[in-house]
């Protein structure tokens, strides 16, 4: 049988069940840093058995130039595949674990400044939205910054980091009539109108190197509802 693998004639899973395999709690794991960067940690066993082949989306999300995450003999991430042939062997036996940290923070690389906007067909005083290369008037009742739930980090012993994330099942964005969102309308104008809940965010455009504003219907979980209370007062 041709010797394709470092552990010739040993299936990857068989090696993982040896003492060396058991010694590693996990052959590859991902490490979450508090600056939003993710690192792929390879034990010696993990780097001898596996490589990670990133998709285009994976390269974009993690920010790696290389298509493969594979430690070479010097525990560096160099070209794994050259043409149709493998170019590097993994680190030698006994090498220490290695971590490849993504160059990008992925906290907000997909979208920026997410907002919740309530648009209406009521003839309100127009709200002027000015972007880099365009401007538009909109009938907006209100917009709110999307609430963030920052993670809390703490260390348990030296090696183990604890991450606590709190989630809420509802966001209470407005509560009270003393709001800056007050409009003056006549009873005729209020006879028939529509309201839309939109998600507004700024998405990075690779071509223009700028953030473009995108508005789309606010995606709601299944079997959920949102509540809007409007106060009308006779003048």
């Amino acid at each position: 049988m041709e010797d394709h693998f470092l552990y010739a004639n040993n299936d990857w899973h068989t090696y993982g069940k040896t003492d060396a395999g058991y010694a590693a709690a996990s052959h590859i794991k991902i490490i979450f840093r508090s600056d939003g960067k993710l690192g792929f940690k390879y034990t010696h066993v993990g780097s001898a058995l596996f490589v990670l082949h990133l998709t285009e989306e994976g390269q974009r999300v993690f920010g790696f130039d290389n298509r493969y995450i594979a430690p070479d003999e010097n525990s560096k991430m160099h070209l794994y595949l050259d043409g149709n042939y493998v170019r590097n062997d993994p680190p030698p036996e006994g090498a220490e674990s290695v971590v490849f940290v993504s160059p990008n923070s992925i906290y907000s690389h997909n979208e920026y400044r997410p907002e919740i906007a309530i648009m209406t067909s009521l003839p309100l005083i127009p709200y002027v939205d000015v972007q880099e290369s365009s401007a538009a008037t909109k009938r907006q009742l209100a917009s709110y910054r999307y609430p963030q739930n920052p993670a809390a980090f703490s260390y348990r012993e030296t090696m183990f980091k604890q991450v606590i994330e709190n989630t809420r099942s509802y966001y209470h964005l407005e509560n009270g009539s003393k709001t800056h969102n007050v409009f003056f309308l006549t009873g005729t104008q209020l006879q028939n109108f529509h309201i839309r809940l939109l998600s507004r965010k700024y998405v990075y455009n690779e071509n223009s190197k700028l953030f473009d504003m995108k508005e789309s219907p606010y995606l709601l979980p299944d079997e959920s509802l949102w509540t809007l209370g409007i106060k009308l007062k006779t003048l």
Partner: protein
């Protein structure tokens, strides 16, 4: 819709304000869900030809696709869970 006032009168001026707004969290995530990010392959020796019969893992699904990620922490959890299941 619940109305606590009689029908609006025509040609009467009103002030309109938003009194409360409650929304559930959006199902959109930080990381694009349902988009494959990477595939785990067997590591080949230096100089070996890169063929699927050599590098493919003998398991059904060696490709990681995030499914319910709203935060980076959730992505890290899903990736580590995927690795542990290998």
């Amino acid at each position: 819709m619940y109305k606590s006032l009689p029908t609006l009168n025509e040609n009467t001026r009103y002030s309109l304000s938003i009194e409360y707004l409650v929304v559930p969290p959006s199902t959109e995530g930080v990381v694009l869900n349902q988009t494959p990010l990477f595939t785990v392959e067997r590591r080949l020796r230096k100089g070996v030809e890169y063929k699927e019969e050599h590098y493919a893992m003998p398991i059904d699904n060696a490709t990681f696709t995030p499914s319910q990620c709203r935060t980076v922490g959730q992505l890290a959890f899903e990736v580590n869970y995927f690795f542990r299941k290998l």
